[in-house]
Symmetry: C2
Subunit: 372 residues, 2 copies
């Protein structure tokens, strides 16, 4: 692994490999990558390209990417999807299929997901299903997508009954994280992305957690060097976990720390009310409390986690939906009919595991959280 | 390979293996298999089962299958989809997702596709996408599904722009071909299935073609021994081709003999007007004519093929949509924008290959066919 890219000039950046045999691919991280011809070398070329984006990202970066790809593809086409988690559903997915078919695209087409997690998930699933599978490249433009959702090949849309219930494991051919695009990211989105960055510390790398504590101000100030390190280390951890367990039969589940509570928050408030990262932030606080209650970690770990999230401007107080509503939503999310719901709990500093927890304990954690 | 099952009593039948490494599976062929407990051994059990069928098949066989599976699964649930190719689309697919989620099914669920090609394609794609992939078992109840669509892991729905444009390669865990259910198959469906049986002869096994010529009357009379051999030999050929080229990057394409013209017939008349096998029958006649025109096969092969299809009560005269409309539909089907359309042509007795053909030659073949 080479050193972090100097942030002050265009560079081929650093490279993290997701080792999955014939499905292996690189995550390229650097500043100005979008416009760097070298970044796209080795990807499928010759056929059509379809760039999937949303109006906000499109206005900022679509032309730049089109220009970068123009010489590589027969045609560089694009489609803009409505922005927001509430649009991560069938109708929006069908807009991608319609665009591909209206343009007469074939199996040689490469889909480029230019945007955040919603665009990446929809474009990735569209690539998985179009003509039973075409290539795609992730070009994440939010911090959250760069450090989490663009890596690992999970693609999906939501169903009214819950998040990400319909989708595919379909690995991208490359992930291109241009740190320069983070400059235009709204503050709220930046903070939401930092929630997923923080996540990697308690579950897998306590020194990284301490590094984030030390660099919280720099990260919020979008210090290029700090962001470059945060993205790279997050991608390294995610790549290592995915390489061990591509289809989440086992260890990959730890990446969902805070997500069971978080999904309940998102679904309970209505998709799009809280950003995913915000819900995960409050969800991690609950997950850490549960870990303390189960006696597997010391309360100081939970306190430091909450303090850091608060310092990063993230919510640490979950909405008061009522304990029963949380249980109902989480049972739905985990399909735990008649069984204990399983949670990712912290089992040490930089260690996590999947554990069942009785409704009584979970109710207790939620009620204590809300001072009931 | 053991001998064909005696048709007169319940039997574990013969077994054809689709060799795909860790995705390998068996095709079980025999009489009375649906109710035979031994047939289901070794499949995933413990979790829920969701049987997908349509009202016609459901009325005949749903209870039998439910009974056979009752001891193996936590719950045996079912959903009935509307019958017909015109329903092979999003809304119907969503009915399967809704059923799975309304019942609170989880990743341990096994989907059983009990029906013809439409049910198998939709249920298979639903299994591929539900929670990013659950197990499924094909229980084909039409001859066409038994000899073709249930084998090989191609799943899909149609798009208004063409057939099977959205889907996944997702191999079933087993294919269970109960020959007994063919007794209730309408004559028209039986004949449509025989079109796909016939297909295997000219593309891969000329002695099998001659066997069908000799047994045409027995097949139409639903002679159990003849049907058993037809299903088994068809599955053997399909399994061998799929094992060589699971994702159709190469040789698997020969299985589409007659299908480029056939898809144009189906789309041109409106999905559901002609049965798929009927369209393939007339499509194979055109495909053979094209092969003769390209000089790669003797006219007597084309004549024998047409004579056999006619004897089986299948259409050998394609509808007169006009040559330009055919070209337009086939270009759409093959996404051959600005390029020659590629066809499966016969290159010998029991040999086929993919070849480009100019619009002029194709127009000529269609116009000669309609006596223009």
């Amino acid at each position: 692994m080479s050193e972090a890219a100097s942030p002050s000039h265009r560079t081929a950046g650093t490279c993290v490999t997701v080792a999955l045999g014939e499905r292996s691919y690189d995550i390229r991280i650097g500043t100005g990558l979008l416009a760097d011809p070298a970044v796209w070398h080795g990807l499928p070329s010759g056929g059509d390209a379809l760039i999937v984006c949303n109006p906000v990202v499109g206005a900022l970066y679509l032309q730049r990417l089109k220009l970068a790809l123009a010489a590589r593809h027969a045609r560089v086409l694009s489609v803009e999807l409505p922005d927001g988690e509430e649009h991560k559903q069938w109708q929006t997915l069908n807009q991608v299929f319609d665009a591909l078919l209206d343009h007469g695209c074939d199996r040689q087409t490469t889909v480029y997901a230019l945007g955040g997690g919603v665009v990446g998930d929809i474009a990735g699933f569209a690539a998985a299903a179009f003509m039973r599978g075409v290539s795609y490249v992730q070009v994440p433009t939010t911090l959250l997508a760069q450090v989490d959702s663009s890596v690992g090949g999970k693609t999906a849309i939501n169903h009214p009954m819950g998040k990400n219930l319909i989708g595919a494991f379909h690995q991208p051919r490359r992930v291109v994280c241009d740190l320069e695009v983070l400059k235009t990211l709204p503050d709220r989105e930046l903070r939401a992305g930092l929630a997923e960055v923080v996540k990697y510390g308690p579950i897998a790398d306590w020194p990284f957690f301490e590094w984030i504590e030390e660099h919280a101000t720099a990260l919020l100030a979008r210090d290029s060097g700090a962001l470059a390190h945060a993205v790279r280390r997050s991608c390294e951890i995610k790549a290592a976990v995915v390489a061990m367990d591509e289809r989440e039969s086992d260890v990959r589940a730890i990446l969902n720390f805070g997500h069971t509570f978080g999904h309940a928050i998102e679904a309970g408030l209505g998709f799009g009310q809280w950003l995913h990262g915000e819900a995960v932030s409050a969800g991690m606080v609950l997950g850490a409390s549960l870990s303390v209650k189960l006696g597997v970690i010391d309360v100081t770990v939970a306190e430091r986690l909450a303090a850091l999230l608060k310092q990063l401007g993230l919510p640490i107080q979950a909405p008061a939906l009522g304990a029963e509503r949380y249980l109902q939503l989480m049972r739905l999310d985990k399909k735990a009919v008649g069984r204990e719901i399983r949670f990712v709990v912290l089992t040490g500093k930089g260690e996590a595991a999947l554990r069942g927890a009785s409704d009584a304990i979970v109710r207790n954690v939620i009620e204590a959280h809300h001072g009931a």
